[in-house]
């Protein structure tokens, strides 16, 4: 399998009380196409920071991010965000004055609006949102349903990379399980590279590759398990 997405020697730190504290330390990793990754780590370990760099919401101090062999900085951060990836957060993933289907179509590329609607309904249906719910204002959907709409949006956008920061963090266990199953499905059925950041072992169990964020570096579980010391 080819490397779709690469993080090369990323370093990033915050100035805390006048002192610089490094969160990511010369971090490198290559993600392959169609694989479902989870990144595990305790709260405060820098998972969100890593995802922000990976999704071009922020720039690394040193190092670079590459998509399909190209540096995303050269590609343009917003071009990368617009065409190649889709981001899902814990909550506030949707525009609250739009309904489900509008949230999905608002983010689609340049195709005819009629086709857009058809495709949006189809994708929503695939993630378990029937038409009557798709036509509802997203504020009147449950947390799980909202995450489904967000996943549908990512799918409909037809970007190869889906990044998610604690997407089940605000959901109950049963719903969380369904959402994780859905992520797994989109990586298998649609060939998406899914990278989920979580602090839940339960979520991690379902993924193809589990990564640990430790001391500012990503460590693959299993291969270098000896390095993963409990914190």
């Amino acid at each position: 399998m080819s490397n779709l997405f690469e993080l090369k020697n990323l370093s990033y730190g915050y100035i805390d009380g006048g002192k610089k504290r490094m969160i990511l330390n010369d971090l490198s990793y290559s993600f392959k196409k169609g694989v479902f990754y989870t990144i595990l780590g305790p709260s405060g370990s820098g998972k969100s920071t890593l995802l922000a760099l990976a999704s071009a919401l922020d720039a690394p101090e040193t190092g670079s991010v590459h998509y399909a062999g190209a540096d995303i900085k050269e590609m343009g951060f917003s071009q990368f965000r617009k065409h190649h990836m889709s981001m899902i957060f814990q909550k506030y993933n949707l525009i609250d004055y739009l309904n489900g289907v509008e949230n999905v179509t608002a983010n689609m590329g340049a195709i005819k609006s009629r086709d857009k609607n058809d495709l949006a309904y189809k994708v929503l249906n695939q993630v378990g949102i029937v038409k009557s719910k798709a036509d509802r204002r997203v504020t009147r959907l449950s947390g799980g349903e909202q995450q489904r709409v967000a996943i549908a949006r990512a799918l409909a956008k037809d970007a190869s990379l889906v990044l998610a920061d604690e997407p089940t963090g605000a959901l109950d266990t049963a719903t969380a399980k369904e959402i994780i199953a859905l992520f797994k499905r989109i990586s298998k059925e649609f060939g998406k590279t899914v990278i989920i950041v979580t602090h839940s072992d339960e979520v991690a169990k379902n993924s193809d590759v589990i990564l640990h964020l430790t001391n500012g570096k990503l460590v693959e579980m299993g291969s270098e398990q000896s390095n993963v010391t409990g914190e």
Binding site: L57, F80, R81, K82, N93, I95, E102, A106
Partner: protein, 450 residues
Amino acid sequence: MHIFQLAFLSLIRKPTKGIVIFSVLFMIFSLIFTGIIIQNTITASKDYTRKALGGNVEMKIDFAKAMQDIQGASGETRTEIENQMVLPENMAKVLSEDAAVSKTHIERTLYTSSDSLQSAVSNDGGSFGISLASPVGGGTSLFLLASNQNIPLDFDKQLKLEDGSFRTDEDREKDTVLISSEFAAKNNLRVGDNVAVKLFPEGEPVSFEIIGLFSGAPNHMVDQFYISEASVERHAPEQLKNISRVVWQLKDPFDIPDFLASYSVQMPSEYIYLDASTEQYNQLTKPLDVMSTVFDLLMVVIFIAGAMISIAIVTLFVRDRQFEIGLLLANGESKVRILSQFSVEIFFVAVFAFVGAFALSLLSSDLVASWIAANQLVESTQPSQGMFFINDMISGPQLTMSQVAESFKVSIDGDTLLALAVASLGLILAAISAPLSVILSYKPRKSLQN
């Protein structure tokens, strides 16, 4: 999705922000519009006053100044000053040739007496305290007013033709006269009768045909005869010396300031000046000027305060939408597009506020017009005159309150609308500059945090 569609859905489905921004803009627009309408009404009423006062300029002798200078002056200086207190004939001619002048009235007063005619001046009231000195050699003192125009100036305001008619161009060859109905009654004269009058005390009597009787003359003017300059020229040209009044009637009252500016400096003496009812005009319009300044200031304050309130409110609403902005940025939307959508939303609300405020100002403009007319003008003139009548006007119709109110009611025209639109647009641009800078300063990651 198109930004117009997004903007529309945002306004319809989350109406609170729209309603608040609408209310604020409506209030500010209404205040500014009313201010502009008040300013326009003030301008209109000043123009009306200027027009109603007429386009007349009179050359006058500054007696007050002359008297002051004469006091304590040597005999020689005194004579010199007295010699300057004459309306210069050449100036009358020079100014009458100005393109702005439509008509020049020149009047000369001739003093004479009659043995046969009886004075109609009543001595019972003695209201004016003017004692008419008996002419040398006895008889009745008479004043002949020789005018170069068919209708003498006094008929523009004070005097009314009671019987007969005015002189026409055709009877320039004849010697005609207008006398007061009081004088006619006293001497048993009628229209069509002839009276014999000497043009100066030692002159030969000339027969004048009475062509009209007038009323409305104050007691001291009932013995005044209105004759034509042509008659004097025919019978006693050497008497055509001193001008008693010169009035230039301008085609357009608004030419007055320029006319005064160019000719005032050419007056031959410091005791001769040009007057154009500027006194009355200034007196009438002074409260309007004060009001205009006050409203100018108020409008600047309202505009600045309004812009600040708008900026504050719009900024609040944009901050309230930071997750939305963060989300859009995270999805790769450009800041320009987000900014455009927000601007469209505000513009859309602003158009409604503009239309609403404009409709309200249509209603209020009538109120404003009558309020200015009823309160500002009357109050300003009442203490001194009791009634809004411009009595001292050289000529022109009497200007009444109701006329003024009537004529400047309609004050919303294309120019006003343009002024309103420009003011509103300025305010909106100020209000939009806030989200512009807020959104441009947003870092996508930061706006998704906290």
